[in-house]
């Protein structure tokens, strides 16, 4: 199974749906029951519940249309594309559209509406296509499915439960505990006053705050940060990072953990990584990096290790002579150690535990002391 990039999912368990219009191929109550049955198969394996509304904006708007129907993804007449749907979200997101040039049926004579609806509603709930040919979320329509015996494949159940978990315990299906979750993977609370970060970096104008297996994604456009699993964007990256920094001129963010570092460009992990940090010119005594920041004006990248810092010349692609130097020497007030650092509005924001220091690199002094999660609109 797979989910949409960024693993969008509904933040609530009770969802509304509305059947905006009806195909002339079937009686209205046949359409109603096909959609109801399609929702029910997802209801049975998740905590989700659905209720139908008859007017206004529902979470999942279901409609029948032909050719161009207002979403820049026109249908193509009979055959080929039967329907499409959008991942969870506001507006058109979460909606499901059915191609009314198909012959929709209650059985398998034409195109079975229940079967296609069950697949599209999988998209509306956040599932992407599966390579498992037995799965409902396999992209091709299987007209030979035995409708009477239909049930979700394990692949579908694993997929939807990776987003919403299993259904709540009930006497007839007590939840069996899954294997214990490794420590360090608890979901950190965004506004916890003791919150600290493993690493912080900019990425194409946004700021990423890494912690354990997750990261907050903060855009200047929205007051609230988004919260994601690192693996939902970069499956091959490790958790519990040490440092991260963006080299804007190369549209690349470098991420460090232990004696290795990775490179990402958007949501792509670049080939040829991880590499050893000593290829950057650190002395063998350096075992890990605490924090990193790249100054795009000066084309220099600063690496903070214990109470010292190194400077890397991006033009020459080499560590500068005369380093390491004491952090206190050039960043007074920031020593002795830092967890993370990033640059915004001409200031360096250093993180240490639950505190954050705003440092003016030109005046070489700390100008503000903040909480680490001051960017989260707490």
């Amino acid at each position: 199974f797979s989910t949409f990039p960024g693993m969008p999912k509904w933040k609530k368990t009770h969802l509304t749906y509305r059947i905006v219009n009806y195909t002339p191929d079937l009686p209205r109550d046949a359409v109603d029951s096909a959609i109801e049955k399609a929702l029910k198969i997802w209801e049975e394996v998740t905590p989700l519940t659905f209720s139908k509304i008859h007017e206004g904006e529902a979470d999942i708007m279901i409609s029948f249309a032909v050719r161009e129907h207002g979403d820049f993804s026109p249908f193509d007449g009979p055959g080929q594309v039967l329907a499409h749907a959008y991942p969870p979200g506001q507006g058109i997101y979460g909606d499901a559209h059915f191609d009314d040039d198909e012959q929709w049926t209650k059985d398998s004579a034409g195109t079975n509406l229940f079967l296609v609806a069950a697949h599209e509603l999988g998209h509306s709930l956040g599932l992407f296509h599966s390579t498992n040919t037995e799965a409902l979320m396999y992209p091709l329509y299987k007209s030979f499915t035995d409708l009477a015996q239909f049930r979700l494949a394990q692949d579908d159940v694993d997929g939807i439960q990776s987003l919403y978990g299993p259904p709540p315990a009930s006497p007839d299906n007590p939840i069996v505990p899954t294997e214990s979750v490794p420590s360090g993977s608890e979901t950190p609370a965004t506004c916890d006053p003791t919150l600290s970060f493993d690493a912080v970096s900019t990425l194409r104008g946004e700021v990423l705050f890494f912690k354990n297996r997750h990261f907050w994604r903060k855009s200047l456009r929205t007051p609230e940060p988004e919260f994601h699993l690192i693996s939902s964007f970069w499956p091959s990256l490790p958790s519990n990072l040490d440092a991260a920094c963006e080299v804007t001129s190369r549209d690349t963010v470098f991420l460090f953990k232990g004696n290795q570092f990775w490179a990402i460009r958007g949501n792509e992990v670049l080939a040829g990584y991880p590499r050893g940090i000593h290829t950057l010119g650190f002395s063998p005594t350096v075992k890990k990096i605490d924090a990193a920041i790249s100054d795009k004006e000066k084309k220099k990248t600063y690496f903070f290790v214990e109470d010292k810092y190194w400077r890397f010349d991006e033009k020459r692609q080499a560590m500068e002579p005369g380093f390491p130097k004491k952090i206190a020497e050039d960043f007074p007030g920031v020593e002795p150690k830092v967890d993370a650092v990033f640059e915004a509005f001409g200031f360096f924001y250093f993180f240490r535990g639950s505190s954050q220091l705003e440092f003016d690199p030109n005046a070489k002094k700390v100008t503000h002391t903040l909480k680490s999660n001051s960017w989260f609109n707490c």
Binding site: F4, P5, S73, F75, G79, Q80, V81, L82, A83, H84, A85, D99, E102, T111, V116, H119, E120, H123, F128, H129, T131, T133, P139, L140, Y141, S143, N267
Partner: protein, 82 residues
């Protein structure tokens, strides 16, 4: 002279291949000249990606099984990419 029927058929199937790889497998829309030359790098890679995704034998070639798959009814959401 009227176009040779087989030639015309080949043309429409290439259009189908182009559209299919664009719609579902992120083939860049400006790859038209590549599709014309069936054995070009980007297209072969995309065909292999599609064959792997759909559970076909990965040959990189537009064999009958692959062409058959592309004619089957399906969901309009892409198989790869965002």
């Amino acid at each position: 002279y009227p176009l040779d029927g087989a030639e015309k058929g080949k043309d429409t199937s290439m259009d189908l291949v182009q559209k299919y790889l664009e719609n579902y497998y992120n083939l860049p829309k400006d790859a038209r000249q590549f599709v014309r030359r069936r054995d070009s790098g980007p297209v072969v890679k995309k065909i292999q990606e599609m064959q792997k995704f759909l559970g076909l034998e990965v040959t990189g070639k537009l064999d009958s099984a692959t062409m058959g798959m592309m004619h089957k009814p399906r969901c309009g959401v892409p198989d790869v990419g965002g």
